[in-house]
Structures are given as structure tokens and as C-alpha cells.
Subunit: 480 residues, 2 copies
């Protein structure tokens, strides 16, 4: 067993790294065996005990474990957390709360000790039981593959690995190892709810399954190995797809290229959606299969409203070439659209000649140009980002502001008809959330130019005017 | 139900194809419901009944089903097979034998009717039960995903699809459909062994699982949908890898690029190995996990002998850049190596000038060349496929043959030492199986030239000889 254990740690790179390893030591047979093995192969071990405050005996246990670490001449660290209180506060099960507090403690200790890994004592029976529990609760590949031997548990650390080096050994082997080595395990300190579930699986379900196939435990264990390699392969590829198809991500939102996403294999779409949802709601575990299906279905045929609530306070919506998943409360990014600065509550003056920087590299510039030049080149110019207006007299200054309720103007080319600005925007493809902050160039209250779209027909350049004003909206990319 | 059924068939392209569909009709509720639904949506249905000869009532059932098809005004075909006898002959379970004979019948009828598909009545409960059975027996993704709705069952047909359009409906729904439609199902004609197993799952296992999670059936059904999309994605990619890394395939063997294979993700290696094994032993189902693991392990560190028996009468061996999986009895391809024709049992004469075609485009040519030319260009020529030998007198003819026990010669550059040909070959990298048929150019019994390797030092070209003989081995590729 020592040999297999050493070669497994070696395969996982543990023996090549001389930083210490934090071993979660409850004093039960599994963690005791793990601790003993780690010490025997010469690792620099830090024994870490977490008191869940779930049972009165725990103080005596802490002392016993501390003495044990001292006997081995190893560093010992411990902490105590009120699991029941935390569970109540967070509205989670005691089992879940215990798990979170315990791993938080182990990884904070690992950080302090500059450890390469945290090792815990899950064994092959735990693996089989946990897979059966996943099976019963409903799970995809991620749950059916079981616990990995080595994992970077992003929730606790992005650098320190979580190791389960006993996953290849059965409970029986561990108990007889303890006996052979004269180790005296304490009673396992696990909370009752977990014991209740595990016991039902262990005493009812597994014996029934064994009556069908006496080797059921080996069979499930092997299944987990085979599904693990499938899972690892898929994850590698999904990591790549995530990079390739994700466009924007930030607090509470992600967006993808809608068309490309819809053409990916179903398995990839499902996973990208799940990643998107978990990046928005980090504590959402076991995301509902039906929710994901609804999203995938909507990729195929988006609703007429181009927006839907998918649950968990998340909306799905389409914007141009992008499809977004976003928390309702999230503030979405401005992308590369010109927007009047949110920090300003009042309109700003645009001198002539002069310019105003909107932020994000966008600049509006105004200057007079010779009327002859303007008239000569006008027919060639249909760029809505660079327009020329005609005046009898050049105004002293213009105003830049966002839209106001009741704004109207006469869009160029509509025969001089006046239109509500709000209605005009509806006919553009500009996503609604950008209309609010869209910069408008005005003379007094009158909208002269909707940059990027059109000018006011009253100010079109013609032989009837004597002065020409050039207005441009340009973006200087920050990274150029 | 009719609507969901129609849209499912439409998604699977069935309604766009006006060829008939063969429905496996046992007369039980599932197949009856399926038959009725197919008729109602206007498909051209052929009702097909297979009598397993397992129960005395089957003749009466056949008549009842025939009458039913007549009532619907549909074509009816039937056949009878002795399942017990076939099972005995093939050494398989009655269940497996029944399955094989039934599908053989259905697909042969589908071929005759130029049908687009064979439809069978598996429903959601069957799906859950079959996944649980796979789980118990041990299975990877392929089994846990359950039965696909649509599949090209290569074993029976590479063109006609096998459809299971009821997989989305529960037994309850089917029974109440039959009731609503006034359909009177016969008792399901299934063999007892299968009933025994299914009943244990249905009456023992599922109720126990439901006591943990009342929605267990829905959970398993959803799991199968999610794993199906994973499986489909992986299969697509493995199809591609199979094309990319497979080098040779034929009756009883496959070979891959050894180095490239070893660098593929574990999940892909596993699947390529399984495909390789099933392509060699077509009837091997449920290939042993441990066997596959042994092969993968050997890719990492090949045994010193470069060959191992992996079970099922298959050996794994390495040859140059290739790794082979081959039945021990398989005749391996000659690749592009020159080999003396197997069809010839005697040596052949090589005239001077003259040539001999070995087959596969390989040709050995002999002709005299002026001694001055030969001596002048000799130092530049170190191509073992084109050699010049020196003679006091040009022999009348040479002989081409394969090696004989006891062959010895003096390899060029070894200071004139005589060596056993067998030992010489061992030092080359020529795979052993090509040594047997390697062509040798001889004068009488004496080996003059081992084409591609070296000449006999006694016949080296030098100032002491007066005649030069040019020998070449060339390959004209058939496709050029």
C-alpha cells in the first residue's frame, strides 16, 4: 500500500515539490491512514483539525489529534466553527455548511504554510457511495465521474491542489492498514445527516445492487475512472470554446456570439450555458436541467421579445450578434458604443471649433468648413459619423446631451416630417439600453444630429445656406 | 401525444421521407401504441411480427397481430426463429439470441420494403430500466446514455435507421393512450429471463431508489439526455481521430501511429483501443475495462519484447513508428516493404541485363555498366537500394530468393568477417515478420546483396576487378 501510495503521489507531482502538504486529520481511520502514509514517505506534513462544534466530544478529540501530531513530530493547526449557526445563516444543509467551513479552514492553513496541496482521506468506498448519491440526486458527467484524485478547487484556491490519494483503496484495506500499523482511530466525526444518508446507501442500496452484481463496487469505481477521462477531455475542450465564443464577461453578465454558439454541439452549448450561469450566480450548485434546456431551446428559436427570464434572477437576451446571460440587477458594459458620460447629469457645451470626449475613446468634434468645399464633396459623403450641416450663420456653440422625454426632430430624407426621437430609435437596431445614454448634438433644445444615424433635415446643406459646419464622431481605440 | 410524436418524427427527418417504415409489432401495449401512432400520422407502415418460438401461445398471437394489421389495412410480414436453438449454438443468452434474430428479421424486411427505418416500441421506463441494468453490469458513457432515439445500427444496416420514437413517453402514458384509443394489447411476448431481470429492477430497485428520490425515474431519464449529447460529441471527434491516426486496417488487424496515439487524451485512447478490438473481434461486446487499461498502460511503456497478448486472442506489438493490434491468426499486410512473392516456392532467375517484379510495385534490376564509370562515381554512392558490385567476369545470371537456415555472408565494411544472415537482420530495424520474405540477390548459394541494406564485401568494387554490375531495387507506386 505504501508503494502504491507513493507512486500515485509521484504521478501527481507531489513528490517533486518540496513545499509542505496540509492533511485534514479528523482522527478517524481514513485520515489517520492518510496522515501516517504521508509521514512515512517523507512529506513535510501539517496536520489540520477542524472542530465542527457538532458534538460535545469534539474537544477531547481535538486533544487526542493534537497529541498524535506531536507524537509524529509534525506541525498541528486547528480551528473551530459553528457549523449549525453558519448553516442557519446561509440557509444550507448542515452537511454543506460543514464542508464549506472545513475546506475554508484547510485552504487558509495551506496558504499560510505555503503548502503545495491539501490532502483529504476519501477512499474507494466513499467514491462509490458519492457516485451513487449523485446518481440518485440527478447528475451529469461531472457527478458520475466521482471525486477526482487531484483537483484545483477554484472555490478555495486557484493554485493549491486538493488531493484525495486514498481514492484507489477500499475501506477494508484502510482498516487493515491501521491495524497492521497499530494505529488507533477515533470514531469518525461526521455529522448525522450525512451518516444517515451514507448508511442507507451502504446498508440498503449497495447490498441490493450486489445481489444483482457482486462486483458492483468495482464496477462503479471503474465507471468513474472511464467517465473521468471523458470529463477531463470535454472540459479541456470547453475551456477552449469558452475562450473562443465568450465576448463580454463581468460582474453578473456574460455574452456569446449568438450564431456561433447555436451551431456548437449540444454538449458544448449545455456546458457553456452552465458556466455562464455559475459565473453569474457563483453559489448556484446543481443547475436545473430544465433551465439549461430552455436556454438551449431559445438559442434555436429566440422569443419575439428577444428577452426571457430563465430563473435564478437571470435574463437571457439578444443584442445584434450577441446573446447575453445577465443578472437582472447587473450593470452591463458599454461595449464600444458611444455613450454620454454617466458621471455628468447636465448637458455639456460644444464650442466651434471644439471637441468633447465622451470617454472610451469616443470624441465629438465641431468646426466650420468652407461652404464651397462642403457643397462640392457633399454627394459623395454618406457617413453618418461625419456630417455636414448648413447654417445661415454659424452658432456660437452647440450642446451635447442625452435624450429628453418629448424630443422630436425631422430625420433627414423623410420629406421634412417631424418624428418622436423615441420612435426614431425603435426603428434603428440600436439596443434599447444604449438609447438612454446616446449622445445628441443640439442647438438649444433642437436635435441637430443623432451621431451615427442621421441629421435634422432642417439643417441639411444646400445652396440656400452660406455656412457649413462639420461634425464628426470618432473613436480612438485606447490600445492603439 | 400524437402531436409530440409527430414533431419528434419530424425532427428525425422521418416525415420528409416517403419511403415506408417497418414497425416491430408484438401486439403488446408499447408496439401497439407505436403502430397506431405511425398509422395515424399517415406513414406508410409495414407491420412486422417475429415469433421467438419461446411460448406455445405465440401462434395465436401471430394470428391476432395479422388480423390487427389487416384491420388497419397495412402490409403484414412475419417470421419464426428458434431462439433457444440459436442461443445454444452461439453460446449466448436466450435474451441476446432473441434480440439478434428479431433485429435480423426486422432489418431484412426493411431492406426488402426499401424502408427508411425500423421503429420499435421502447419507452421511457424501458430506457430507465435499461440504464440501470447497464449501470449494474458496468458501463461507460455508451451504456449510461441509454438507447438513442435514432441510430444507424451498423450491425444490421449501414443505411436504414433504427428508431425508438416512444422513448420520451412513460409506460403510464402508453397504457392510457391504448385505453383512450380502445386498443386491446396482447400480453407482451418477452422471454422469462428478461422479465425476471426487468421485474427485479422494476419491483425492487426502482422503489428503493424512489424512497431516496421520488423523481428518480425523471432524474435518470434526464441524465441519459445529457450524457447522450456528451456521447454524440465525443463519438464525432473519435470518428475523426480514428481517420487521422489509423494507418492500416484489414481482416483481423489495425495499426496506429504509436507516438501520436500515446499523446491523445486518455478518453480518446480508450475509445480507439475499443474500436480497434471490436474491429478485430466483431462479436466482442462489453470489452473488459482492465484489458483496455493494460493496452493504454503499454502505450506509455511498451514491454521489452515489443509484443504482448492482451486477451481475446489479440496481440499488441510495435513495429517502427506503428503500434499494431492484431488477431494472432491474422495475415498482416506487407505495408510497402519489398517481399519475395508468397506465391512462389522456388528461387527465380535474374538475367543480366534483366529485372524481376516482386509485386506491390517493387522491381529488382541488374545490368553491367562500364567499369570506369562505376569506379569514378562509386565514392558518391551510398544508396543501399542501388549498388555496384565488382566481378572478374560477369556471371550468366543471378538468383533471387528468400533466406535459408544457415545463410551467412560478409557484410560490407565489417572487415570481411562472415556473419549469420539471421544475426545481421537482428541488428537492422527490419520488423521480424518481413525478414522471412525479404528478397536476396545471390550468385549460386552466395548472398551478394541484401537489398536496402548492404552488399557482400567479397564483391565490393575495387581496382582489382574488371567488370561492374549495377543492381537496383525500385518501387513504382501503383497510383502514380
Amino acid at each position: 500500500m505504501l508503494e502504491n501510495f507513493a507512486s500515485l503521489l509521484s504521478e501527481n507531482g507531489v513528490l517533486d515539490d518540496d513545499r509542505p502538504i496540509v492533511v485534514g486529520l479528523s482522527g478517524g481511520p481514513d485520515s489517520l491512514c492518510l496522515f501516517d502514509l504521508c509521514c512515512r514517505i517523507g512529506l513535510e506534513v501539517v496536520a489540520a483539525y477542524f472542530d465542527h462544534s457538532l458534538r460535545p466530544e469534539s474537544t477531547a478529540e481535538l486533544q487526542a489529534v493534537e497529541k498524535l501530531a506531536a507524537d509524529y513530530n509534525k506541525l498541528f493547526v486547528s480551528s473551530r466553527g459553528d457549523v449549525r449557526k453558519f448553516a442557519r445563516e446561509q440557509g444550507m444543509s448542515v452537511e454543506e455548511a460543514a464542508r464549506i467551513l472545513r475546506y475554508e479552514f484547510l485552504f487558509s492553513q495551506a496558504g499560510k504554510a505555503n503548502a503545495q496541496a491539501v490532502a483529504v482521506g476519501h477512499h474507494a468506498d466513499d467514491q462509490v457511495e458519492s457516485i451513487l448519491m449523485h446518481f440518485i440526486r440527478g447528475s451529469g458527467l461531472a457527478g458520475l465521474r466521482g471525486m477526482p484524485v487531484r483537483q484545483i478547487p477554484n472555490q478555495w484556491s486557484t493554485e493549491i491542489a486538493l488531493l484525495r490519494p486514498l481514492l484507489g483503496f477500499w475501506r477494508e484495506e484502510i482498516l487493515s492498514y491501521c491495524k497492521d500499523r497499530n494505529l488507533s482511530p477515533l470514531e469518525d466525526q461526521t455529522n448525522r445527516e450525512l451518516i444517515y444518508w451514507r448508511n442507507r446507501i451502504r446498508l440498503e442500496l449497495i447490498p441490493l445492487l450486489e445481489s444483482y452484481n457482486p462486483k458492483i463496487k468495482q464496477v462503479v469505481w471503474r465507471m468513474s475512472r472511464s467517465l473521468s477521462s471523458d470529463f477531463a477531455w470535454i472540459e479541456d475542450q470547453v475551456n477552449q470554446e469558452w475562450k473562443d465564443y465568450l465576448r463580454w464577461t463581468g460582474p453578473g453578465y456574460v455574452s456569446f456570439l449568438a450564431e456561433a454558439l447555436g451551431q456548437l454541439p449540444l454538449a458544448v452549448q449545455r456546458r457553456l450555458v452552465i458556466r455562464g450561469i455559475t459565473s453569474i450566480r457563483r453559489n448556484a450548485r446543481d443547475i436545473d436541467f430544465e433551465m439549461v434546456e430552455r436556454v438551449i431551446q431559445a438559442f434555436k428559436s429566440p422569443p419575439a421579445t428577444r428577452q426571457m427570464d430563465i430563473g435564478l434572477g437571470i435574463r437571457l437576451f439578444w443584442e445584434g450578434e450577441l446573446v447575453w446571460l445577465a443578472a437582472w440587477e447587473a450593470e452591463l458594459p458599454a461595449l464600444d458604443k458611444p455613450q454620454f458620460p454617466r458621471s455628468l447629469s447636465e448637458p455639456v457645451i460644444l464650442s466651434i471649433p471644439g471637441f468633447f470626449d465622451l470617454g472610451n475613446g469616443w470624441r465629438i468634434t465641431a468646426c466650420e468648413i468652407p461652404i464651397e468645399t462642403a457643397l462640392r464633396t457633399l454627394p459623395e459623403n454618406d457617413d453618418p459619423y461625419q456630417v455636414w450641416l448648413g447654417f445661415k450663420e454659424i452658432p456660437g456653440a452647440l450642446i451635447i446631451r442625452v435624450r429628453k422625454p418629448g424630443d422630436r426632430f425631422r430625420p433627414f430624407g423623410l420629406g421634412g416630417h417631424s418624428k418622436k426621437l423615441a420612435d426614431y430609435f425603435i426603428n434603428t437596431k440600436l439596443p434599447p439600453r444604449f438609447r438612454e445614454g446616446w449622445p445628441l448634438v443640439c442647438l438649444g433644445d433642437e436635435v441637430l444630429w443623432v451621431p451615427g444615424y442621421t441629421i435634422n433635415d432642417l439643417y441639411r446643406l444646400s445652396g440656400a445656406v452660406s455656412h457649413a459646419l462639420s461634425l464628426t464622431l470618432t473613436q480612438i481605440k485606447a490600445d492603439l
